[in-house]
Symmetry: C2
Subunit: 262 residues, 2 copies
């Protein structure tokens, strides 16, 4: 669990969670357990996705994947335990100044992000579409929305709920997060075909080898870059009306996702 | 998810959860989502335990195991989704007459049962002790407490918390559940060496083939039966003082576990 969780990811999801909490007037401590939890869920999904029976990947964040180091059975179990610990941490460690009804709501939102209408749904469609040349934009978007965008969305929504946001504020931040989520994947696809394994810290060109559909494959690299730019602008429009000082980290994060190099 | 969840287990955990809820004065509806959740967690642990990289079992509850029917990747993901859905269901479906602070507490208890100090811990030690003739009673009890007893305990504790039980009532029911949990495994071990696969609905004698430590192997069948009887009596002693009519199902369940034939 520690090996994969502390392997040094970008921590985009925790940062989003904390920034959303502060944007709606909460303080960092209210969303800190949830911020850790969303990173645990992200890590858990990477461990299971990398398994031999899934994507069979042996490099992740520049290090050997979990099952390469600890074996397949421990990798499955480490993922299971991280999944459970995410919920435990929110339930046990969220400070008492957050009303328990908000904690229950946050837990419901996070759970939905993972299961049969979230990460798992995306991975099932992803696996079943590998090597299938019939896969189109509709399936591609389904995969990306479920495997990537939903957890980013959940991270923002959890922060907004736990920080005491109104229903309207939660929904505006949800729309920001949906744009960011799609943006994140489009940029990932572009990087996969334009960067080396060393630059990325993971196997480059893997999407091509696995015959996966990607945005560059479907619309070309230039159109993919334009699409990324449009999503970035749309995301930032959702933040208009919030305190600009508190919105600054979320604007910076949209730009960071759009212009990152690995 | 449906295939394994609806394969017709004994539903011991949901029954324990509902009975504990009613014992402390709650009504069934307060603990129904939690009762479903503990069965989802139980099913999830069976699906993952049966995987080729774990116990590599192809028969469960008289039917082919999940990965035999749907493949390994879907079996891993079905378990993940059941794990997440258990938390979603408690958070979303527990009725509003249960205070949210009790829901948060129940979620924390359930999560602890699963992770690195619960089911997962038990499975890790179980796997690493297979084929190791040095394994003694201490390891055997660790495995049984974590793989079996903790979820039975959690089922009872969740019911008691959600039904509005006092801290004292919750702790007395926790002790009842601990005895039941150990009893359950001792009887399971006895059945494995005394019944056929057809009578059990799962592969009989598997513990012997896998060279696993069991109670009959360590203390003989007769001493194991005496130990089971002692645990049954101790469990029922914990219920003294509660309303005898409401305690009747829990007494019956202890007897059912002690005297079951499969």
């Amino acid at each position: 669990m520690r090996y994969s969780l502390l392997a040094g990811g970008k921590r985009v999801r925790p940062v989003l969670c904390l920034a959303a909490c502060e944007l709606v007037g909460g303080n960092e401590s209210m969303a800190m357990p949830a911020a850790c939890a969303v990173e645990m869920i992200h890590t858990m999904s990477l461990i299971h996705d990398d398994l031999p029976c899934m994507d069979n990947d042996d490099l992740r964040r520049g290090k050997p994947t979990n099952h390469i180091v600890y074996g397949e059975s421990v990798a499955v179990l480490a993922g299971d335990a991280l999944l459970a610990f995410a919920f435990e941490h929110i339930a046990v460690a969220t400070p008492r100044n957050v009303h328990p009804s908000r904690i229950v709501r946050a837990i419901g939102e996070l759970a939905k992000v993972i299961g049969g209408e979230g990460l798992v749904a995306g991975q099932v469609v992803d696996i079943s579409s590998e090597g299938n040349s019939e896969v189109g934009l509709k399936e591609l978007e389904f995969i990306h929305i479920h495997k990537t965008a939903k957890l980013l969305e959940g991270s923002v929504v959890l922060g907004a709920i736990l920080g005491g946001g109104s229903d309207d504020e939660v929904e505006r931040l949800r729309r920001y997060a949906r744009d960011i989520g799609l943006l994140f994947q489009v940029v990932d696809d572009i990087l996969d075909v334009t960067k080396s394994s060393q630059e990325l810290g993971k196997t480059a060109g893997k999407d091509l080898v696995a015959d996966k559909v990607t945005y560059p494959k479907l619309m070309g690299i230039e159109k993919s870059r334009e699409f990324a730019e449009k999503l970035n602008e749309e995301a930032k429009e959702q933040l208009v009306g919030f305190d600009p000082v508190k919105a600054a980290p979320l604007i910076a994060l949209a730009n960071y996702i759009a212009y990152r190099q690995n």
